[in-house]
Symmetry: C2
Subunit: 331 residues, 2 copies
Amino acid sequence: MTELRRDAVTGNWVVVATERARRPDHFRKSKAKDEECPFCYGQEKMTPPETLAYRTNGGAPDSPGWSVRVVPNKYPVFVRDASLRPSGSGLYYSVPSAGGHEVIIHSPDHEKSLPELPIDQVALVIRAYRDRYLFFKGVKEVDFIEIILNHGKDAGASLEHSHSQLFAMPLVPPAAQDQLAGAADYMLKNSRCIYCDIVETERENGVRAIADEDGFFAFMPYASRLPFESWILPLEHQAFFEEIDEASMRSLAKMLILILGRYNEVLSKPSYNLFLHTTPCKSEDRSYHWHIEIIPKLTAIAGFEFGTGMMINISTPEDAAAFMRGEKSDQ
Amino acid sequence: MTELRRDAVTGNWVVVATERARRPDHFRKSKAKDEECPFCYGQEKMTPPETLAYRTNGGAPDSPGWSVRVVPNKYPVFVRDASLRPSGSGLYYSVPSAGGHEVIIHSPDHEKSLPELPIDQVALVIRAYRDRYLFFKGVKEVDFIEIILNHGKDAGASLEHSHSQLFAMPLVPPAAQDQLAGAADYMLKNSRCIYCDIVETERENGVRAIADEDGFFAFMPYASRLPFESWILPLEHQAFFEEIDEASMRSLAKMLILILGRYNEVLSKPSYNLFLHTTPCKSEDRSYHWHIEIIPKLTAIAGFEFGTGMMINISTPEDAAAFMRGEKSDQ
């Protein structure tokens, strides 16, 4: 069963997805277990049939030889099932958890994480993000698409083989709503993009900047929610990730390798969550500025954060950015 | 340094509290380490001077003989420091993280968790909650007080000796705002309390009910955010926790022992977070209904939850409540 339940008091939605309880909870780490990994060559039948794969050898679907492969998640949070109907009323209200939930396998290599892959391979991963984004943008029920990379057990990854997930959902989730509303409001009042203004200020000031290359800018936000949170934005105002061009896919790949590589050096290969945030896929409002947010999993989220909805950050982004730029090395 | 920084886009606040990085990150579990535990008898000098202690023997402050003891947190998130001023402007805005942050030590017993203590002792803990709540309600800078119990390492507790924390803060946090707004809106439209209506429906329906005794009702909410989330509410409409009477302190103690004891049986002594949510302390609006929320830490919060602000629950509250009532025992 998978459905979206509405909290009668707050209006917040919860995804109830009981099938996910069946996921394997062990973490496949050793190379010896390659033969069991559903994301390795030769194991293609262990996953649902692929929805996209890049192959240069002209091989058959669901056979080895691919460089990036996309498959439906075996334990989906959002499902394509038109038979579902909204149910309940008043205090108890649910809607179908309609949409899609896919896994983007970054490469056939079981061992290498994203920043250890060649630039061209990472650019292919971004192309797969774009291609599947465009597919789900065309699906009637889908209002919002979020692409997430959970790296490492502490970040919630259940399989070690490097992969991302795409969630295509029938509503705009609260975290996105907050940013969209803020950006729209600022645009209305200032006729400017708030993210463009932040980028301009951060590039001038420099204290929270990490890297500035080929049209992408990486920095640590002033109100970083957790230690070493970083954001990557295109310098030019772009509302829609799916409009990314060929050259930018490569530049973004380079920037991702740079930033994730720095994390590996400075924080000794941390677990992390990476999100791609962009405009809702049926919207034509251009006030938002798509970007990537990366949050290393260094501290536990305890009762305070959950109970209040407010984060406690035990370091400053100014300090963290200095570490990432290599200006500080002792902590 | 401890300050509240405002996210320019969303308006959300983050607490930057760098002193907390110095907290001991090991978890004192073995009895052999009692002599190092700052919450045990004889170690009173290891904590800042107590702000409250219940003693029947007439002993001196910061000496053994207390039954419940309250001390300032050594690594506070909110501090009493009137010298702080708001700083910044435009995109970069911070306010002093003013208020208070205290630790309520549940008993001198290093080993016993809350539900293993006698009812009278747990009622004393609730009295300490109430007494310190009333103190901070009188502090000018304080707008909201949240009391939290983190039990177990997985729930973020850094010391094993059973304790709660009180956070007195200069703003109403987002999670509280959401509930307060929902309750006020429902009251305006229906002239009724939404929590009273939920309790009535849940008592009639019964499928998510756990216990109903002495004026308190425990159940699992329809839109439970995580597996086995439960809520405890007073049956009578009460907006202000601090108005709790003597008899109710004892009834609530009994209910807490019952519910937390059930968790220990059904889920094999899980880690959990417990929150006490009540009306902002300077408000006179009576539309909210104070209650306790308990969330066992059974599944990890991964990228999806953090990136979207939406939770995935892999079980239903209907199933979980049946386990808690003892009607199901195999999972």
